[in-house]
């Protein structure tokens, strides 16, 4: 069985990656638990959204929109469940579903292996994710939420920087062909 294969569209060759068994589940669970624990000891780490970074990474790597959006949904719903009763189930779920779909759709069309491309994509996805959360909060939950502020830009840049480094580490979980 091939561990990686190529999508061919015209002249472009996009490699689709597979991972060691359990890697996706382990990484997603670790990200969720770290996200819940880290701010207790390092409050400033609250700026990070590791579950989002994991969603983006596996979306870009697997390059299958269906599995990407389903993985995003599962991670998002788990994050909702661990965020306390004031966050309704589906809040992060919808945001990460959209990101999972977009990441895997874009991953199927572009080469997203270069760190600069990854930085730009993570930055963009972070902003889009926050946009979806704001839409859900304002339109569906009727709660006030700012659209855009400096904190969002800083958070997007920090997450993009961390994500670029993290992705290099996660690349090691890929099965070699």
């Amino acid at each position: 069985m091939n561990d990686t294969y190529e999508l061919r569209g015209g002249e472009t060759h996009i490699e689709v990656h597979k991972f060691y068994p359990g890697a996706v589940v382990f990484v997603a669970a670790a990200a969720l638990i770290f996200q819940a624990m880290a701010p207790v000891y390092f409050p400033k780490l609250n700026i990070l959204d590791l579950p989002l970074l994991v969603t983006i990474y596996f979306g870009l790597s697997r390059r299958n929109p269906s599995t990407g959006l389903l993985l995003g949904m599962v991670i998002g719903l788990a994050q909702d469940a661990l965020s306390g009763p004031t966050v309704p189930l589906g809040f992060y779920g919808m945001g990460k579903t959209v990101i999972g779909y977009l990441a895997s759709s874009i991953g199927a069309r572009l080469d997203t292996e270069h760190p600069a491309a990854r930085f730009a994509l993570i930055f963009s996805f972070f902003v889009v994710h926050q946009g979806v959360l704001v839409v859900v909060r304002r339109l569906l939950l009727a709660q006030p939420e700012a659209w855009m502020n400096l904190h969002l830009v800083i958070a997007a840049a920090v997450n993009a920087l961390l994500g670029t480094v993290l992705f290099l580490g996660l690349d090691r979980l890929r099965r070699s062909s």
Partner: protein, 302 residues
């Protein structure tokens, strides 16, 4: 039956998944249901990792911190370093435990000075898994006598209230959460008004009329009107006052360090608790910080 083109299948799936979650949201809002079953599963699955993680992190941090503290001593006593290495390691471990004991002594001292108030101490094992809420999870639950809407405090002041209780853990909504808050009053003027969170480190005191005199630095305590917090628990200090119409805009710095909570106290009563900061330093070594006072709450009434 209409066949969906294969290239649109993922788009159809996206729409279906989003619609399903939209309905899930609508059901929660309409029925005020919070998906407890899914949350219980998630919390139960994460609890062992969070608890062991909290324990492990505490150990590592203690040894790490005191290792560096001892490095200075090591340089000054270079000649004795080799033969003292083993001893230093022991000291490091003891200092780590002492630091932990100091922190718990504050909690214990508070408990001992309020022995007639039923309360239970808990360790913070996790926080909210996102920035949309400000909640913490503690390692005390239904089996420890905790129920929803009980007040959570530290010796410094009010922290929040219990919003969800599981077998061994509870989730606490911090005062700084957008949905958090407490009935409050200004200490000097006894002017009342709710203090609520904004999702940011500072809180807002609402509904204080423009003609009221409010000074920066004035203390704010609980009023007891919310039927959750007993009266006179410190909430915070006024750090900014802006005129408004018809109400002032008052920003409040929380009295408790809500961004660095490691241990908290859950009050198992709504009876008044008198805060005596000078008493919080005392404490007997034989009382366990997590133990529960059993004296009747009514005895604390003035």
């Amino acid at each position: 039956m209409v066949a969906i083109p294969s290239k649109h299948k993922s788009l159809t799936l996206l729409a279906g998944v989003l619609l399903a979650q939209l309905l899930l949201l609508a059901v929660q809002i309409k029925r005020d249901s919070r998906g407890r079953l899914i949350r219980v599963w998630a919390i139960s699955a994460a609890y062992p990792f969070e608890r062991s993680g909290a324990w492990g992190f505490g150990k590592v941090r203690g040894v790490w911190t005191h290792y560096f503290a001892l490095q200075t001593t090591e340089r000054e006593n270079e000649a004795l370093r080799v033969e003292n290495d083993a001893l230093k390691l022991t000291i490091s471990q003891l200092q780590s435990r002492a630091a932990e004991a100091d922190r718990l002594a504050g909690i214990l001292g508070f408990k001992q000075s309020h022995t007639k108030v039923p309360m239970v101490g808990g360790r913070v094992i996790a926080a909210s898994a996102g920035t949309a809420s400000r909640t913490i999870e503690i390692d005390r639950g239904e089996r420890d006598g905790i129920r929803r809407n009980m007040a959570v405090i530290t010796p410094d002041g009010a922290v929040g209230k219990v919003i969800e209780v599981y077998g061994d853990t509870s989730q606490v909504l911090l005062l700084t959460d957008k949905d958090g808050g407490a009935g409050a009053m200004l200490v000097d003027t006894r002017t009342q008004g709710p203090v609520g969170g904004t999702g940011e480190p500072l809180m807002l005191m609402k509904y204080v009329a423009t003609e009221e005199n409010v000074a920066v630095g004035e203390k704010i305590v609980t009023s007891g009107m919310d039927k959750i917090f007993p009266r006179d628990i410190p909430i915070g200090t006024v750090v900014e006052v802006k005129p408004g119409n018809p109400f002032k805009q008052i920003r409040v710095q929380p009295a408790a360090r809500l961004d660095r909570l490691e241990t908290v106290i859950v009050l198992l009563t709504q009876e008044p608790v008198e805060f005596k900061s000078e008493n919080t330093q005392t404490g007997a070594a034989n009382a366990a910080p997590g133990s529960q006072s059993s004296a009747p709450a009514a005895a604390e009434k003035p």
